[in-house]
Every structure is written in structure tokens, then in C-alpha cells.
Symmetry: C2
Subunit: 172 residues, 2 copies
């Protein structure tokens, strides 16, 4: 261990007396949660999901199911693995989610053309009707959030900032 490492360790673990003295001299500065990005993101996400879940109470739909149905409806025939990857859902969880949507008769897996090992995903006729209703409920939920934010300009600002967090693989 080098001298500077020893000093660093001594500085990090001062004796009881020194610690008491240093905490007197050097006031404890801590994170202000009110301006901490992760804390605020989590609180806002929980509140938005709560509104979502209450809005979809009658349709019995969870946020991840909403996302999957929206992606299938937007582009029928996508592979199971593609949609799971887009949404960042683990394979086992995605399979369970699709099982649920199939059991409800909303979506179905079909053997993908040219690749019998993989499945392409489609809405059933009932699923198409369901997606129309679900999208109406979502629109009202989203509109409430846009009003809270102060308008569509603010919604766009928020999405832009969240995209910056999401798309920079390298910080700086």
C-alpha cells in the first residue's frame, strides 16, 4: 500500500475522537431529494402508473400489456423476440404476458413465415376491438397528464429530456 493510499484510508476511517471533531468542523452535506433525478423520476412514474392502472381498471390491463398490444396493432406480424427487446421485457416474463393475452383471446402467436422456430404476433378480431377501446382510455389518461404538465409543448420537452437519458450510451 502506498503512503497516499494509507493516508486516504486513515482519512476515510478516522478515530472516534477525530470523527467527532471532524463532524463538528465539516458539516454533513447530503443529497437534496427534491432535485435528485432518480428520486423524482420514480415518484412521477409511480403516480402516472397509478393513474394508468385506475383508468384501465375496468379493462383489466396492465401497462406492459398495453405496450405489447400497441406494438402488435401498429405492426402486425412482428416476432415475439423483437417486441420483447423493444420493450426491454425479459423473455420469460414476455412469454407469460403473451400467454395471458392469448388466454383472453386478444392476441395470437403464429408460426413465422420462413422461420418455424419463431412466432409472429397478431391481434385477433376481438383484440382489434379491444385495442380501439383501450386506445380511447389511454387518450383520456394521456390528456390528463398533458394538462398537468401545462400543455403539449411541455409534454414534448419532457419526452425530449427523457430521450436524452435513454439514448446517450456514453455520458458526456
Amino acid at each position: 500500500m502506498t503512503v497516499s493510499a494509507t493516508q486516504e484510508k486513515a482519512a476515510a476511517k478516522p478515530s472516534r475522537a477525530k470523527r467527532a471533531k471532524s463532524s463538528h468542523e465539516d458539516p454533513l452535506v447530503v443529497a437534496d431529494l427534491q432535485t435528485t433525478i432518480g428520486y423524482k423520476l420514480r415518484r412521477a412514474q409511480l403516480l402516472v402508473f397509478q393513474d394508468f392502472i385506475e383508468s384501465f381498471n375496468r379493462l383489466k390491463l396492465r401497462p406492459a400489456e398495453f405496450s405489447v398490444l400497441s406494438l402488435i396493432a401498429a405492426q402486425p406480424g412482428q416476432k415475439q423476440t423483437e417486441i420483447a427487446e423493444k420493450l426491454g421485457i425479459k423473455r420469460a416474463n414476455f412469454v407469460a404476458l403473451m400467454d395471458g393475452l392469448e388466454a383472453r383471446g386478444l392476441a395470437e402467436r403464429r408460426k413465422a413465415i420462413g422461420d418455424k422456430r419463431s412466432h409472429s404476433l397478431h391481434l385477433t378480431e376481438e383484440g382489434t376491438t379491444f385495442v380501439r377501446k383501450m386506445t380511447q382510455v389511454w387518450r383520456a389518461h394521456e390528456q390528463r397528464l398533458v394538462e398537468r404538465l401545462g400543455g403539449e409543448k411541455e409534454r414534448d420537452q419532457l419526452i425530449t429530456l427523457l430521450d436524452r437519458i435513454l439514448t446517450s450510451d456514453e455520458p458526456g
Copy 2:
């Protein structure tokens, strides 16, 4: 059932033939997840928490524990119920979390003055040292996020927008 309600039901559940026709005439418009507030919030929150958890791997600290220690350090002596409420953590979960921090020797419950049924929360000496280290790790994590966002101005914009979601009890 009124006539208009009957019509509404008929419109929501058209016959097979009508449905096929209507889905031909009336293209399915669905939510674009890329501009959906809840979806983007969740993805960003998961990414930020993943960075947080990796940053705190060595200190073995979860985000909720970080928040609790920060609040105790900022104002020692607050009651257990106050801190749980500020953070929106359920009583049972909060008790388990505090048990963990006590077992690690970082924080302690003391009988609150004037109210022997409630507990006030304090850092131990070891906890104070830990909070100094933890705050340094947090600062580096937060700085990475600020750089991703493009600067402190953008961080402030993001916090302002998230606060609008969080503080308006009434939409509009």
C-alpha cells in the same frame, strides 16, 4: 337501456361482417409509445436506477435506503412515520428497511421525546461516515445524468416538469 346506449353497444360490438368492413374503412390508430409519458418515464427510471444500483454495488445500497439515510442526515430526529410518508413508503416496508439499516449499524431508532409510542430516527457515528461516502458516490452518478441531459439547466427543466406531474392534485 336507452336507444342511444343500445346503439353504442352495437357500435362497440359489431357483427363479424361489419367488423371486418369497419376495420378496413377505419384504420386502427394506436398509441405511439415513443411519445407516451408513462412509457418513457418508466424506461428512463429503470435506466437511472440501474446506473444507481451499479454505482452503489460496493456500498450495497438500494435507492430507498439512500433516500431514508439522506432524510435522516438532513434532519436528525424526524419520526419514522414522517419519513415513511414523505417518501411514500408503506409502513411495513419502511419498518423492514429500518431494521436493515439498524442491523448494519448505520441508523437507530430512539424513543421520541414526549411521545413514547413513536420513534425518532438518527444516524450512528458509523452511519455519518457512511453517508459522507454515499453522498460522494451519488454526486458522481448524478453528474453523469446531468451530462446526459445536456447540463444543469436541462436538469432543472426536467425536475420542474416532473414536479408539475407530482404536485397538481387536480388536472387542468
